[in-house]
Symmetry: D4
Subunit: 230 residues, 8 copies
């Protein structure tokens, strides 16, 4: 069996769901990833690679490594040109603590790849409430707020009570013991007393960004963006 047979890029996804192709690298060998990059580069397709750790990156052929725009914090790589930035910044990406930054950055990079700028607001966890409150007014101006939080994930609940926009919480695997790799953060978000908070899988910054673009997508179309992508 040739490596070619092991994947079928979903080239029509863009027109259907208005999101470009992304490749989740954690479960794939360097050879599999390399074949996919090669396929995309040959055809001039843009590609976002997520969960690409430095060991796997080092396993790619040098010309591929050079062609990638790699960010070690979020472990993402962009192959090809990102979409040009579309208008004003309408998405905030908030983190509870320093350890949540890699997940938040994955969201920021995904948005960047699709042409959405995001405002990062870091280290505003509820244990020191004043850090959040002084930025509350600013947060209320964003139609979409992504919040990355681990441990007890109290932050999305508090933000959900402060702002009226869509709050997309990303539970992170930060914590130990009963934090259970993010399961407690996830459950706390789902059981939130603040109405209308939504969530995605643990550490899934990419998914949160996709959801944000889905939420903003229709509006962009109304405003006259004709490229059909978002």
């Amino acid at each position: 069996m040739t490596p070619d047979k092991e994947f079928v890029l979903d080239a029509r996804r863009d027109e259907r769901v208005r999101l470009s192709e992304a490749v989740f690298c954690a479960g794939k060998s360097a050879a599999q990833i390399s074949a996919i990059i090669d396929y995309a580069m040959t055809r001039g397709l843009g590609l976002l690679l997520t969960r690409l750790d430095e060991a796997r990156l080092a396993g790619l052929p040098p010309h591929q490594q050079e062609a990638l725009d790699y960010d070690p914090v979020s472990r993402t790589a962009i192959c090809g040109q990102p979409h040009p930035i579309r208008g004003e910044t309408r998405i905030a990406v908030v983190t509870a603590g320093t350890s949540d930054v890699p997940v938040a950055r994955e969201a920021v990079r995904t948005l960047l790849f699709e042409g959405f700028a995001a405002e990062e607001i870091v280290d505003v966890g509820v244990a020191g409430l004043w850090r959040l409150l002084r930025r509350a007014e600013e947060l209320q101006r964003f139609p979409v707020v992504i919040v990355a939080a681990g441990m007890d994930a109290a932050l999305p609940s508090v933000i959900g009570g402060l702002v009226g926009g869509l709050v997309i919480a990303v539970p992170t695997s930060v914590g130990y013991g009963v934090a259970a790799g993010g399961q407690t953060a996830l459950n706390a978000i789902l059981a939130s007393c603040a109405p209308g908070i939504v969530t995605v899988n643990i550490d899934n910054g990419y998914g949160a960004a996709c959801a944000a673009m889905r939420a903003l997508g229709g509006r962009v179309a109304k405003e006259g963006d004709q490229d059909g992508t978002s």
Copy 2:
């Protein structure tokens, strides 16, 4: 201690997060619920009551029972006038099976209370894929699609691959054995292979509706809706 002391209605929630007050009745006694209704009726506040089963309803004073617009399928009651419908229908509420209808209806009723009409599309579970495919084009026209599904909850994944709008999945407690009261449906949604699906707590039709309104809220404002509520 007087019952008055047991609650503090969040009267400023409306201006902050642009959602009216709702009361989750499952954990409350008829006396507690009655006190809250009395408080709202006296002040002319609108109120949505969720998880109000018929036993608790029967425990309310007759004049309160009469004043409520009660729906037995969703176990919701509306106290006071719902918000007038705001423009065209932009939210679809989809169910995988007949047993998911109560949860979907809770979302529809919540939307109605806030002035958003919703299109219900029932019984399009993936085991009979043709039922869904013949409605795919219709679904692609909605900026927000709420999907209520229990058991394996494969439907949100499939819809997520078919439409570009925001997909808010509501796992339901439908099923038995490993369905585990909706936990499997929830996990399947969170682990979905379709990018950008978001979710809420099991059976939380109310929360899905709130999230839909959060997502549409900003857009409405841009279009000139000045009442500040949505």
Copy 3:
């Protein structure tokens, strides 16, 4: 076997751990409970009964029912005279929502039985942060704050960041779906980002009160309380 053989009251507990005898009624038959009350009444021992639902209460002999000071909200009964109130109020008992009141009241009643007055502060959940913030300064004056919260239990984290006293969180079984009968609230409290929050079993208002008294006990002794009980 006579019912007598089925229990051995720990009459020396008072002098050892400075807490009076309490009887957890949930797993016991009316006959077993009645035998214990009889034993205590005969000997003039004070007794706190917890988790005594109205059905079991109705199963007791009339003279016992009359002798009990029963509170239906907390499902507690006091047999015999409570300890006289000891000095100023040093314990606050805070609830996130109306549904948490029964658990909080169990703590208040336990404290009352042992002679500690408590200040109840209700319905200050974080989804409406202003309700809490306006009482923050008041909370900072208590050396011990008991916080009963269900669902995502974000409240103890926020309070833990606002006050310097001992924060004893009681997760409650309020909520549905992933709230999992209080397990999520418990885990969120344990994984809290606020330092030094402690907790007890789900719905264990009695245990929180005991812990509060243990924490205050030594101090009371220093102040000259000589009765050896607290």
Copy 4:
């Protein structure tokens, strides 16, 4: 104790359940595996080795390494001659994504060892439904379809609604967070809304292949295959 004492090859399994001996290597030391291979080679018995990672392979004596037909993707090795292929291909092995290939390949290799050819159909996950639909008719021709899928494992449900043959789903450990090492995929398959889907343990490509052969076994006999093995 000599290593000989540590195993008893089930030499009569073939005549009883019509499946040859297979050795699961994950929990065994290189010395234990080597002793078993030696035993089989000496007696001319065929042997399938599963979960034989490259480190353990390297720990075997060179002459054994050479004698094995090793496949690194599925981490399987065949010792001795596989059974000649029996007639037409009646089993399809389908994968949802590239990361599911190792598990699917374990099934293919097991079938090959016993003389059953299989058709591999890769990367047809439901997020891009058109990839599956264009192969639906082809799938309907197989009496047995093995489907390897991780994450939310929506694929077996969809295939179960499209084909009438036996669908044996193999949940894979592909995914992260709530995917929980394949537990969510497994539960989603078991809770499937499509009737009559069966499953095996997570990542158990070997077991799925054995089940397929059990299902086809009787039929083969009817067609006149007299060797008694399948």
Copy 5:
């Protein structure tokens, strides 16, 4: 909303997956079930109703109750004529203990509805191994063996080592404590040391029967059964 809107019978399922329509009644109201029966009776469609407890049955209109062939042990009802029996009996349905009979009977009734006779073999759990061993030879003659077992579910493993046909295990919710409503039986089956055992959801006798028919289906077609149903 009329009840009509709440379901869409999958009338084309028969030709696609060769299984008739079945209705899982546990999550449905008597009114919903009645509407479905009415729909089927009007059109002359056969219908299998599962998990129809006696309370819900009593809630149906008298003429519907009379028209149903109801079995209280399995809580199944057949509406309309079952398919005529197709040839010889090729399916055995085995139970470990008396308490597993309701689940086994659901499988037998489902098979009967579709025209497959089954041989029931009861109470052969492994704690009294001789009860099983004396029937081993008989079991080896069936191409498909369904095994319903709860508690530790050791029986499918033992049968899997004794017979060469397809073994479809149905974990049952029989047991207490760690039996966990069938979860332990399910896990034990999935972790079975006997190769090629497959399984379905807990208590899912219906699903096991459907799987058995899927396994036998292709063969039937080859033998010239032209009715397209099995």
Copy 6:
């Protein structure tokens, strides 16, 4: 199908494992239980019925109810004559609290049925250590000690450190919240720091008694007991 077909009493169990037949009634209908009693009474077989609640008991024919020696605390019934008491008392049955008595009594009744007298020692939980310590010497004289304990089940660990005989712990479902129906007690026992504690399923007093008899059985044989039963 006649009820006869639904069970096969394991009449040879006595000679094989030296334990008489017992019937677990929780999962069986009154009709099934009655048929089994009838079968045993007709043949003069002794029978122990466990988990026979009063509702099911009331569903048996009057002559069967009268023939049974029923104990409501343990919910056990003995049909026929128990075995005469064999020699001195060598088994102690200890309970941590009053609520554990029903489980302990199930063990005592099982032992009684087979001819073993047991010494009951109640309400010696570790929270009041002196209650246990004053009986430590007494406990050291028993070759087998059964300990029923719920909640945190600290008692078996402490007893395991005090006595040299076989300690068979029975976790009970006493407790709430994280006690999780006995799962925490079970896990605490299994993780005990005292060496050589063994355990059985939650609330399984019957199993603990059987294990005690297995442990004493061989010794009895040596002492010349020829009846083959124990």
Copy 7:
């Protein structure tokens, strides 16, 4: 993004909750930790670093390594001067076994950093009860007792029954199998039969120390400590 942006030290925490800043290092890179240390050293702030393993320590610049007071057993480092010891020793830190020492030491080091001396009492697990009993009287003199215990964590229950002070249990991840990384110890503590035991997250020696200081804090103030820190 500069590293500066990734954290916001909570400089006002000291005056609010009277605890100095601590940094949990497990989820942070050496670069992130180094930036925080640099920030604190530049400003002369004291800093406690927890979960700083030797690998991360080695990744810090040499001048930072030298400036830290590092303890390998507890994996804690103190940056800057600890607070001078405040009066007599009022906290005991007890361990069940040798393997619990690292967690207990984390508590001792945290207390030391804030100026509280602690008495360590090691290896008094209940399997050898005499080791504990001979120190019972000593333990009764402490107003706060921290108890670190893994496996079945029976020790806090026993101590809770022996002393009247505040018992803060720290479940540790010591143990294997069902010990489940400390989950069983945690649950056993929460389900304890001794009244008023409180707990923190698994292995959270730091949190237990903070709770101890919160409990003692108010008292210290009363005694005239004017520095506002504890």
Copy 8:
């Protein structure tokens, strides 16, 4: 703090529970283990070390390594002289598969250390029932049978139905996926349909051996063994 302070050997355990001191090495550093060995060697105490992997062994001083009788399969070491063998062999140690041997061997070595010889019977898992049946008669002669089994752990149930002695099952962590590190094996054993099976923690061969000796202890005493150890 000196390492001395970190442990207190339970030197009186022998006379109390008649078992010598054993040290569980998994959670301890080489330095801690070395200090304990040194303490025991100096005083001439016998010591059994369990879970001593080869890395930790290599970390001990050479003279200690030489003094130990180390077995790499069970990862146990004996320090000092084992007790002389006591009479005939009365314990059988049975394994389901080759991978269960390390756990079984830990039991054998523990027994050996205390002077009990054991008969090992390997690889008799139920998937090949004939391997077990041909040894059934032999097994019936042992008063105690230890059975180590992983995966579905069906073997103890089957043996429990075949023999009348005490059956101590040891679930092993052998298996993958739902085997869940031995949790499924453990639960299957606890839910066993065979009466009177007891169990210990996962992989706890040491505990099973201790339980066996507890069970045999009393009998030994009766036979006149006066050394007080077993």
